[in-house]
């Protein structure tokens, strides 16, 4: 007979209640909780508590020197009147548009190439990982040098084929896409690694039977590889977008938000509000807006694409 208590019908509780009895169960509970205790403690103290606190801080006026004052929704109202915030918002969305599609397409192409059954492929793979494992700081500094308007390698090369020097990082229109180009170059190998692992998980016999049926390479890619890569693709899209919304390091190193406000992003504005201007409440409000933005985008993706993902054959 179906139990009518709604709680018991939730699988988590159903499992637990019925297994609560017995000495082994008691011991398992003690062992289980003591094993997860450090992780749970870390999660509560350094993630959950700060997230809740951030929500509260967003309603305060607090410069860390004097006592915090309650400000209600003033921070949020001011934010939407603040031109720098609106520019940062726009730039963050632009960054996601520049970075995410190009980055994922490139890593997929790389993964397909690096999955070829060729001699010496491991060597090529190793070279592709080098930008990924290198510290962002060193790579970004290298690109500041490469992008240098007067003596940077890229402009020197361009001048050889008769193209006038480009102001990569000092032109307001170009600075953000130039930084995005660097980030795409640097991170391509990371997503490639995940695509590659997924490619290697596709059973070979599928391709063999498709070949017997006379399917072209292109058909094989669209009908076998692409659908079977969908869980990996979905994972990469979600993670890339979450990461892209928070871009900070690249900006901080390469342009410090300039020229003008042309490379200010939400994270950069949050950082400068908090640590340059000591406006903790304001920064807290920015972080809540970012949180909400990322949450909404992730949920939408889950809704639209989550169900179409092909997990099994």
């Amino acid at each position: 007979m179906r139990n009518l208590n709604p709680l018991i019908n939730i699988p988590i509780f159903m499992n637990s209640w019925s297994k609560l009895m017995g000495r082994k169960r008691v011991r398992d509970n003690i062992v289980g909780y003591s094993f997860i205790f450090p992780a749970l403690f870390g999660f509560l103290t350094f993630i959950l508590l700060p997230v809740v606190a951030s929500f509260v801080i967003g309603f305060l006026k607090w410069d860390l020197l004097t006592a915090p004052e309650w400000a209600g929704i003033d921070n949020y109202i001011n934010l939407f009147k603040d031109e720098v915030f609106l520019i940062s918002f726009k730039n963050t969305v632009l960054w996601v548009v520049y970075y995410v599609p190009a980055s994922i397409a490139l890593s997929l192409i790389l993964a397909l190439a690096m999955n070829l059954p060729l001699r010496g492929i491991a060597f090529f793979r190793a070279l592709i990982y080098i930008p990924v494992i290198s510290p962002l700081l060193a790579v970004a500094l290298l690109f500041v040098w490469l992008y240098n308007g007067d003596f940077g390698l890229i402009n020197l090369m361009l001048s050889k084929i008769g193209i006038a020097p480009v102001e990569w990082l000092t032109d307001e229109q170009l600075a953000l896409p130039s930084i995005a180009l660097m980030a795409i170059w640097k991170n391509a190998g990371w997503n490639m690694l995940i695509f590659l692992a997924a490619l290697q998980g596709i059973p070979q016999h599928l391709y063999e039977s498709a070949e017997l049926d006379g399917a072209t390479n292109w058909r094989r890619f669209w009908n076998i590889t692409f659908p079977l890569l969908s869980p990996a693709t979905f994972f990469i899209v979600v993670i890339s977008i979450i990461g892209a919304f928070q871009v900070f390091g690249e900006i901080y190193i390469m342009t410090s938000g300039g020229p003008g406000y042309s490379t200010h992003t939400l994270s950069y504005y949050l950082w400068s509000s908090a640590f340059q201007y000591n406006k903790m409440g304001y920064a807290g409000a920015i972080s809540m807006i970012m949180f909400l933005l990322i949450l909404i985008v992730t949920l939408i993706q889950n809704r639209i694409f989550g169900r179409r993902v092909q997990y099994d054959l």
């Binding site: 297994k19 070279l127 290198s134 972080s287 970012m290």
Partner: protein, 278 residues
Amino acid sequence: MLFQKRFGKSLAYIALSVMSATCIVPFIWMLSTSLKSQKELFKFPPVWIPETFQWHNYSDAWHAGGLNFSLMFYNTMIIAIPVTVFTILCSSLAAYAFARVEFIGRDFIFTMLLASIMVPPVVSLIPQFIMFREFGWLDSFKPLIVPGLFGNAFAIFLLRQFFHTIPKELEDAAMMDGCTRFRIWLQMFLPLSKPAIATLSIFTFQFIYNDFIGPLIYINSMDKFTVQLGLASFRGTYLTRYDLLMAASVFTIMPVIILFLFAQRYFVQGITTSGLKG
């Protein structure tokens, strides 16, 4: 047919070479810049191989502007080693419980932990800063070490997936002989998951080593600088000395490259078997 195959193969090799060259050429330029004299820096057409290698750029960069990279490497290790070790220990202990022990609310807690991967770190940044300030931990290594000692959701998820692949019979037999859960974790699960643990250790170490935002926010005194923070401050003082800047970049990249070359074979293996393939 044979011709077609050979042609396809050479084409593939050309494509692979172009791809990997794009990845590697900027680093060669970095290396080349680091060995140039100041005059050669701004020469046209660009010089790839300096006339005489200015090896002293490296020792100059090591001590430039009152920085001391020996101390900064030491500081970085003081942070990165305990964080890496404890991340592996605490995460694998929790992962074992989530994979094998049945306790009340297990699935709920696991789902919650997993959802926390989606929480952007910037959201917790401000409250954490205020909290560590209250503790009097600013300008010390504590804010960089302590939050990393309890394991993290990503590592737990990866290791739990890996633990699922270990046959249950092995464990049952050990339990029959009166082996405790703790010993099963320590003497059976840890040794059996070497590839996953190696991959995770490298990721964690690299993450901590490469991080400059944490040190940027929490560290002020020069004698507590990490390698990355040193490099960042270096840029401020030597804006146009690209020779020294690139030399410093080379030796900050070296440790991760060496680590990677040693552990390379674990990389794809570790990720494939730990279920990230989806």
